[in-house]
Point group: C2
Chain length 656, copies 2
Amino acid sequence: MSTVAPEQNDPNQLMRRTTTHKPRGTLSHWFIGRPLQTADAPHQTIGKAIGLAVFASDALSSTAYASQEILIILAAAGTAAFGYVFPISLAIVALMAVVTISYEQTIHAYPDGGGAYIVARDNLGEVPALMAAAALLTDYILTVSVSVAAGVAQIVSAYPDLFPFRVHISVVFILFVMLINLRGVKESGTAFAVPTYFFVLMMFATVGIGLGRYFFGTLGVVVNPPELEISQELAAITPFLILHAFSSGTAALTGIEAISNGITAFKEPRSKNAGITLIWMACILGSLFLGISFLAREIHAIPSESVTVISQLAETVFAGRGVLYLMVIGATTVILVMAANTAFADFPRLSALAAKDGFLPRQLTYRGSRLVFSRGIVALAIIASLLIVIFQASVTRLIPLYAIGVFLSFTLSQGGMSLRWRKIGRLKEGEQIAERGSILRFEKGWQYKMLVNGFGAVCTFIVMIVFSVTKFSDGAWVVLILTPSLMAVFWLIHSHYAKVARRLSLDHYTEPAPHVMRHRVIMPVSGVHQGTLEGLRYARMLSHDVTAVHVSIDPAETEKLQRKWNTWGDGVRLLILDSPYRLFVEPLLHYIDEILAVRQSNEVITIVVPQFVAGSPLESTLHMNTAEMLRRELLNTAGIVITDVPYQVSERKENE
Amino acid sequence: MSTVAPEQNDPNQLMRRTTTHKPRGTLSHWFIGRPLQTADAPHQTIGKAIGLAVFASDALSSTAYASQEILIILAAAGTAAFGYVFPISLAIVALMAVVTISYEQTIHAYPDGGGAYIVARDNLGEVPALMAAAALLTDYILTVSVSVAAGVAQIVSAYPDLFPFRVHISVVFILFVMLINLRGVKESGTAFAVPTYFFVLMMFATVGIGLGRYFFGTLGVVVNPPELEISQELAAITPFLILHAFSSGTAALTGIEAISNGITAFKEPRSKNAGITLIWMACILGSLFLGISFLAREIHAIPSESVTVISQLAETVFAGRGVLYLMVIGATTVILVMAANTAFADFPRLSALAAKDGFLPRQLTYRGSRLVFSRGIVALAIIASLLIVIFQASVTRLIPLYAIGVFLSFTLSQGGMSLRWRKIGRLKEGEQIAERGSILRFEKGWQYKMLVNGFGAVCTFIVMIVFSVTKFSDGAWVVLILTPSLMAVFWLIHSHYAKVARRLSLDHYTEPAPHVMRHRVIMPVSGVHQGTLEGLRYARMLSHDVTAVHVSIDPAETEKLQRKWNTWGDGVRLLILDSPYRLFVEPLLHYIDEILAVRQSNEVITIVVPQFVAGSPLESTLHMNTAEMLRRELLNTAGIVITDVPYQVSERKENE
């Protein structure tokens, strides 16, 4: 370690030192791993295979419930309506294709992260950007709650005895995923790659064997299907019902946008790696979802809260609850819990972006010891756990809140992209301009790209409207209130930061002319002892105008203090403030206010507070700690400086 | 209000001002009344009638359960043993007479408050004094818990539906008594005088009419007595059983000592007023207790947790549950709750005394806005409520913990007094000497007084031993562990204060020779803005040796800061500490440690911290508050001074 000597007496020199000062070894290292240097950041990026595990788990996990959600809505019209599940799924997969292609374009246009927030900010303006941020942040929170609740529902299907503990289990899972994420994105990716690929394998096996048996006519139907829960008489099969079922099924699309928010987590060439991962993900997702919907209809699966459609499918395909069945259920449970992981990867990134722009508390931009935005991770875990507790871990009660936000962000992102292509179309070939921080470069085929993004925007906008209308009374209204409220909070935070920046700005600042200053020092004393004298020596070093002030509560004590002051006070004047109501801080503050009222403009006022420092928090409970009380009050009084002269009672750390 | 002018530029003058600064009007005034000046204290004393209400409620209330507690023990030997209740009660009343005469002497010897703690401290030494304090403080806490639990048991006898809420009701009662006591001793006395005298009247009526009906042979026995709960086969009537019953019945003596602790609360002539009040109290207590024990046997009362003996007695005497029955039950309930009031009057006084001697936290000596020791009152309420919760408001489970402490303090107090008489006996007639703060004056008849106190000490010591042995397994062992533990805590607190006093003492202190001091100033900067420049101006006023230190976490930010520093830094050197692990406080502390290591003896080091002050706590959550973190760490580093230059962002309170 370098010594102090070099910077002595060498004014105006700029010095720089790198401390090898590492965070102290604590319990947290054991949990989240040794600290990483900022310079390690590039080594913390991930490749395509791990990227798929981190960012696709959310999207892939929706295959575990999307078909079931369609069936639940159709059930209102009885089993006859179940035939619509496959056509509806086909429509959803078509929409998925449009959105995927659209996002693939976005990824290449925004290699530094092209989430809906950034795209909307750069192309549509502040309000749409805040709307996108509010929608996405809400959605990530819901992703965690919904996917963990769904994972636990899967466990409860297998072990109904655990039903009363579903909330506890869910919260423990959330905390576990939080801990893994605090270790860093690379480690969480590695940890989660195995189960993700295991799930993909098991699902392809189930769907593949299922389709095989279907073609050979040996598939059969569900044995002992759960009872269909229909509250009243059968509804008719109306267009509204079909649209309602369709919007429920679009839950399958959630998570598609995850990669676009997390491009920076990929190894170089980032855009290419991220784009390819997105295509892979969409293909796996689409084929599994279609297969499951198709087979669900063929085996006459019945939607139920207690036995999931996946459970019925696996039981039918594998002819009973054998090892393969358990492997499918296990893999599904794990992927559902891991879907939360995607939100844990994206939520902190997005909130750090918004915080950097001043829309969320700045603390969220701080990277923890493992280079992840730890505060965002912890915040997400807390809010999601609260939702789990409030909604008692019920997937059906949570899911209506979900997906509106995703589609709002889809619409804003793609709308913004198509506007961007239009601007690029106005450029000459080879020309490039900088606009709002991003660079627009002429590209061939912009017309085609604009059309793709525009079509995607229109489709997702329609779905969002359908969703809002059909799910309004189920709970979607909560989101329609929450999103503007969140936007208002963002705006309030932003205006606070703007106010602070204005107040502190040096732009139109002229430094006051230096002139001889009068320095007035006030020192509260409660007793005369070594600590007081240390404070007094310091006060006298600062100025010749020192006033010691004693608030008198007990006349006998005051008299003793006066006598001691005559001996030790070194001629400094002592003012005694009698306090008939035994208040300590208030008379002192009142006196300081009086001083401030008559102060001249070139006068500086310093309050020197001899501060007693007890050795431990336990010891400090034995003292009045009035210095601390006084300081807290004084901080809010403008125009004074507060100086603590601490005197430690425990073993001194001094080097003499 | 006086102006500031007089004390300007007039060094070495002693000034004194009385602020008419009253505590601000707050919600608490509505609850506990307007603040009182310290000078009002003499007007807050009470006469004999109110004194009886304040200090006797504890002792008198024990008539509500003492007879029952004797019967509960005798029940082990079956109803045949109940005949012993009257002889045992007679023995207890005899003991009561001895203790009363003994305390009456103490009150005259110690007109400034002659509780066991003071008497033991002045005559026996520190260890017995701490023992008395520990015993009494424990006992006051138990008095609150036991009496409130007993009062609530009375209510639950009348309304069994309330049984599940007994803990809640008890805690509410404790908080209510706390609130009344925070209003001041005079007001609590007035509030409690009516129900105390009402209780005395109702009890004399019950006992009187009961005895009358007994003599005319119309008393009869309890109708529908509760079932006698005996767990196993009948025990024999052994001396141990009788002693056990006797020691349970001595609960009637608790509260006798209350007046001796609270002499200062009485109007002048204090000793006389307090002494007369004590005699009154003992007469009322003794006659009621004897009467109830006698009648309980005659009516064949059965001890029970669900229907109290008082309830059975009133029902039998007044022939049914009419208005008079309800008045007796009501009065008993109120007196039981009010017994807690006596503890609330004495506990804070005793803890303030112990705190003044340095055995408890000093804060307990502070008188609140109503001139009572508010912190002691609140502490008592909290601990007693905890006990209620832990023991689920069960009188029978709480009572074994009770009474050992009282008898220990009886023994110590009377033992101390008899030693004192012996010392007085050694003086010549008319001679007086000062010893340990109290004055010993020759008195005639010291031999008789010594004998009375000595006999009292021996009797109460025997009872204490009997109590410890017979009640050991019921829970008295808790007290035998608790008392020494509390003494150890007192001793630890005392040694902490002694250490602090030694460390700060000026007795062998020689002030360091004044010589030219070097003043070195270090100022951490996180950004360059108006707040930083304000801090910098102040730092430069302090010294020419100023070093600005920036901990670099984000290289881009650091570069921006360097550029701004070149413009605004006024030539002050800037040291940049690179922090690869993104720590902020630690590199700075490390740097300061290095500086301290090479510091010269005449060098003063000041850390100037420009401190951002947000307008509200909500706003301050939007900022990192690193200045606060830094300050907390620095306070524990000896040899440096910390100066806050606050910059407020909200509306400035300045007078310019």
